[in-house]
Symmetry: C2
DNA sequence: GGCGCCGAATATGTATACATTGCCGTGTAT
DNA sequence: ATACACGGCAATGTATACATATTCGGCGCC
């Protein structure tokens, strides 16, 4: 087996399989066979089954009728829906945080992240630091999911975000680093501030609306990508889209 | 092993375990040991692991640190959040159905269910048919989840509803069959009609709001139950609540 | 007396042999 | 020619032996 991190065969197999699926090395809809994979990874069937079971929990695989697993495949509409769903769930997290009053420490923390994101933008007309933006953006959305203190909301949000194309940072790096992309980031950052401010002011309805609108940026970026380039293979997880 | 349905040992073990957990025979937080369960069910460890793995996918179990599984446990707040989440997701399904325009056949179908629910109410001051109501109510909520045609939304909604206390019918049978319960059902049915009508009229915002409010009935029923009786054990899945 | 280490007990992790099931192709009979 | 049945193959289902890891108690040292 290629050297991938993890201490047990199960963990390594899980990591390796997940990687291959997200990279697009295994197409959506492909059926996975225990024996073949076990031989390929040079381990026995048991950890392979275990790994597939975990990836099914993650939502990357689905159990096939009559046993076994197949790589889950998505339609273009599924991607749209997953992004919409993320917006709805983040909106709920934001609304609940606003209604219940977020913990001051948590608010300080998320504010710190927003401030740091500002530093990703250089002087006017200089390129932004897309890598750092992507990283901080993920941290922001993680902090947002935790802000209302609900383990239930957090769990479902994590679940949706684990779909590679529904991740908040999915289309940050996917886009070409041009002026339009730069502008998009500026708008997103404005929404970050508005979102935190709405929560602080306990404006639940506004917080929810802003969070939903914020997710729509991802949808627009997706649609732009679709229009500009016929091939979608360089966007994360888009190889799982089959139609 | 007690005779439970299923053709393979895995399926029987899955069914049996799920039953025991929901019935409250295994408390929330309990760690499940493969060997002990295997002996008890008179099968080997392999199908037991497989069953536990599937129940983890369902959300009834969680993987313990350092391997193994434990019965997931919930706080009272988790139950509240799960109900709220169901409302949010059903609201989204309703809104999308309204915005995109639901399939006429689907609309006819859900309308038929609503009409049938009317028959559960007898003449004035006669008891309603709670069993039949519960059944049709579940069918209504299932039809609602499918109405927007999104596999993504459907899947997540099914997931939340699989938590026994977040199911739409969780508190229908749990309540004592008194006049107050009867009144609650009448109100719920009014919301059913309003919901379908909003979707038909393509009033997305109204549809979403009604769906959310509808879920709040479950929350109120829960709070009423908590107030009236100290013990919560007769409500579905409430044995998993530990605080 | 408390902290930490060590080892046994017990748990899960892994490999593998065997059982069972479901599918597909081929054959024959109508 | 079609339909049914038989058989073999290939997949998952299951049991079990063995390997490894984790945990917890006791014992010793600080």
């Amino acid at each position: 087996m290629p050297e991938t991190k993890g201490s047990t065969h199960t963990k390594r197999a899980t990591y390796e399989l997940r990687h291959r699926i997200i990279e697009g090395k295994i197409a959506g809809g492909t059926r996975l066979f225990e024996v073949a994979l076990a031989e390929e990874l040079a381990i026995s069937r048991t950890p392979v089954r275990e790994a597939m079971s975990r990836l099914a929990e993650e939502g990357l695989l689905e159990r096939a009728s009559g046993g076994g697993f197949m790589v889950r495949s998505f339609t273009y509409q599924d991607v749209i829906d997953a992004i919409e769903l993320r917006g709805v769930l983040e909106g709920t997290a934001a609304r609940l945080a606003a209604e219940q009053g977020a913990d001051p420490d948590d608010l300080r923390h998320i504010n710190m992240i927003v401030d740091e994101i500002d530093h990703c933008f250089g002087a006017i007309d200089t390129p932004a630091d897309f890598d750092r933006y992507s990283e901080l953006n993920a941290a922001f959305h993680d902090a947002l999911a935790r802000l209302c203190g609900s383990a239930i909301i957090l769990r479902e949000l994590e679940r949706v975000k684990s779909l590679p194309f529904a991740s908040p940072s999915a289309f940050v790096l996917g886009r070409s680093q041009n002026a339009a992309a730069h502008r998009g980031l500026v708008i997103a950052q404005m929404q970050h501030r508005a979102l935190v401010e709405a929560i602080r002011q306990r404006e639940g309805s506004r917080a929810e609306a802003v969070a939903r609108e914020h997710a729509r940026i991802a949808r627009e970026n997706l649609e732009t990508s679709q229009r500009e380039e016929k091939t979608v293979s360089n966007l994360p997880g888009m190889s799982l889209v089959i139609d």
